[in-house]
Symmetry: C2
Subunit: 456 residues, 2 copies
């Protein structure tokens, strides 16, 4: 009985043109990763469950895809537990492996496991799929690629500078001018919380501030008051609500705002260092902006925080992000390894390039000519030539069957092949080819060298 | 509590050099796939279970990795089934998705699902990981890549010819001369069975004949007799036991052996066609051999059967294989779509290239120069230059920290970086760089253009 074929929700088939476009993005990113000195690693698609569980919070644990043990997996479950019919408790008994949820935790595991083979600072990149049992929606999938670059083993701010240049280079090479690299620093957020006398309100404060462009100054103030942040505290950080001007002006404002917070001032100093470097080595097409409302992964980052926004002309969430984390590998027992990294959002970058029509026409290799199949002798004559073209890197094809002319021409048409080559007895005797330009309809008989020149 | 990190058995971490070597193989294969007109597709890592189950036999079903349903997956299991505590029956209730076991079944599913978007003949390639819950052993992993190219929708033997040339081109480009492409045809095996009057003994006969080089002529005869193949039948196919000579001589022998089998003669004719074509368009470095003992996937292939053996100097199983199958998509309801395809064994090819020391030295991008970090002003001076080099595609790096000279030099040494660049106040004033050749130890002061010439 034939099944009606389908794929699981939240997953995707990629057609040839989609693969080509995705690879255009991936190859561009990969090339710049390499030019910036990052080296590739790959880790297994599934990890031992205890490597992943407990690393992403309760919600994360729930979204991790678990793999059922092989064989008679129920045999190992003791009767009391089995009788409870409790899915959560059962899981750890019948599943020991899980699909990777991101590339960061497997990277941390890799660094600890291979620490004796690694020369630090270790600059690695990793481009692999990850899986999340999230509710699928527009732009959110259950299988998607992450493209990460991280350095571990150095606290140098030159890394942050490099990552900004890396973002700029990649988006420039992707023809995507005008992205904004938003930058903040965890220490500045902590400093602000300190200044307003509410270190414990850091997250409430940040969450509220983050809504500034949506709910406006009054809305933000209201939310802060509701969260127990005092009127006088809010008054102190009033400048943040109208935070405009050049990056340097913003930085000066922050400096005066944070005079009483050592940590805050350190954050200002770090940002100043990075901004100075970028002023000396300017970006090609990206803008660098200081955004004090930026707080992604607050629990995670300890220094710089980055996020990349698509050009204003496109409505799209962030297309990249990252930051510095001071203790990535601690969860696996290797302390004091500082790291900083960034990530590219492949799926969203794809949508942006598509919307702005920025994929090059040459993104997929195009068959330059289809040789018509008039029968075995003619086909052999053609295939000899095709083989020579292949050695020269010129993509040509023989229609496999001696089918009706109309069918063969229609195949060339549908695939957008610009030239069709006809070689019958006359051409074979003359050692020539009749070349038909599919656009103009013009035909011409020519020899191999002439044909080669046309196809190149 | 720190966990001792490890990965599941049968899986692998790939270090930078291993990724680079694997990508060298994959990129070489991919490039030839494209030059031969194949287009890439990608399918999800997991499929609906009913897409995969029942397609690989009972053993295959057992080896498929199943993914546990999300949420309270036990709730849906009815009490009677639950009480049985039967793992096999439980699986389909608590797992609806499974990791892909090969690329062929997902490809068949893809063709059927997208048949209205596809122009036939459809030439696709696919290079993605697959997963099998097999017992891990040397060279056998639970996660490994398959590299497949297939054409569906044409019965033309020119495809078979193309695949032989494709194998030859890829192995030539991989610097691996002297592989043997072994070829057979299912119709010849059927023909032999017909001739010996034992169509039902086809598999027994083939399995025995396959052991010829291990157990010799007498051993094979003994096994055939034991399987109920008659003495006179064996006598008829005696020529197969001493089957030597050129491909053409073997073919002639087969032709006279199979005169009474229409199907067998058709197989001979197909092989003759392919051999003629290859004689007219010779292979570059591979050998083509007719091997009547070749029967891989007998239940599956209906015409040509291919297998590639590494050069004799290396002990290794097959490094590639494939063949023609007349009804790939029938399982999903699309009848009469003939296909033919080949596969490259990435892991084994890797081992062969490693053993024969055939990986190019340039397989991984190498950092050409490390700029020593003498402090922020010097680092900025260096990074300006590094940024220019990056735009030219020259890989150079700044040591991120202003660490002791010895530590920075040792980093360059360990990573095999050939040049170290020293730029202090003098060089900054002169707009020069002191370049140290790490091999000879020689130093020279030079300007940007001179440095660029050295690094290029």
């Amino acid at each position: 009985m034939a099944q009606k074929p389908s794929i699981p929700k939240g997953t995707r088939d990629f057609s040839p043109i989609e693969v080509a476009k995705r690879n255009f993005i991936i190859d561009t990113i990969k090339k710049q990763f390499q030019l910036f000195g990052f080296q590739p690693i790959e880790t297994p698609s599934f990890e031992n469950s205890d490597t992943l569980m407990g690393k992403y919070g309760e919600e994360g644990d729930r979204l991790i895809f678990k793999i059922l043990n092989s064989g008679d997996y129920l045999r190992k479950v003791d009767d009391a537990l089995y009788a409870s019919k409790n899915s959560t408790k059962m899981t750890s008994k019948i599943s020991e492996k899980a699909l990777r949820y991101d590339l960061t935790v497997p990277f941390a595991r890799y660094v600890v496991q291979h620490q004796n083979e690694i020369d630090f600072p270790f600059k690695r990149y990793q481009i692999q799929p990850v899986w999340r049992a999230d509710r699928p929606q527009k732009g959110r999938f259950r299988e998607f690629y992450q493209c990460d670059a991280d350095v571990v083993g150095s606290k140098s701010l030159w890394q942050e500078v490099d990552f900004i240049h890396l973002y700029d280079k990649v988006f420039t090479k992707l023809n995507l001018s005008g992205v904004t690299i938003k930058m903040n620093n965890r220490k500045i957020l902590s400093g602000i919380a300190e200044v307003i006398g509410a270190k414990d309100k850091l997250i409430d404060f940040t969450v509220a501030l983050d809504k500034l462009d949506k709910i406006g100054e009054e809305g933000v103030k209201k939310e802060m008051l509701e969260k127990g942040i005092s009127e006088s505290a809010i008054e102190k950080v009033k400048p943040l609500f109208g935070f405009t001007g050049t990056t340097q002006e913003k930085l000066d404002e922050l400096k005066s705002l944070l005079t009483s917070s050592e940590e805050g001032l350190q954050g200002v100093e770090e940002l100043q260092f990075i901004i100075n470097a970028i002023e000396n080595i300017p970006l090609q097409t990206a803008n660098l902006d200081l955004d004090v409302t930026l707080a992604r992964g607050l629990n995670y980052y300890t220094g710089a925080i980055f996020e990349v926004a698509a050009p204003d002309t496109v409505k799209m969430g962030s297309i990249g992000g990252g930051g510095r984390y001071d203790d990535l590998t601690g969860i696996f027992g290797l302390k004091d390894v500082s790291g900083v990294g960034i990530s590219f959002g492949l799926d969203r970058i794809y949508l942006v390039l598509e919307e702005l029509n920025l994929f090059p026409d040459t993104v997929a290799p195009v068959t330059k000519a289809l040789f018509i199949n008039f029968g075995d002798a003619e086909a052999l004559y053609c295939l000899k030539t095709i083989n020579l073209f292949r050695s020269e890197g010129i993509l040509t094809e023989l229609y496999p069957d001696n089918a009706k002319m109309k069918k063969q021409m229609s195949y060339a048409n549908k695939k957008g092949i610009p030239f069709v080559i006809l070689a019958g007895t006359t051409e074979m005797n003359n050692e020539t080819f009749t070349v038909k330009d599919m656009q103009s309809g013009m035909q011409k008989e020519m020899n191999f060298e002439e044909l080669k020149a046309v196809l190149q």
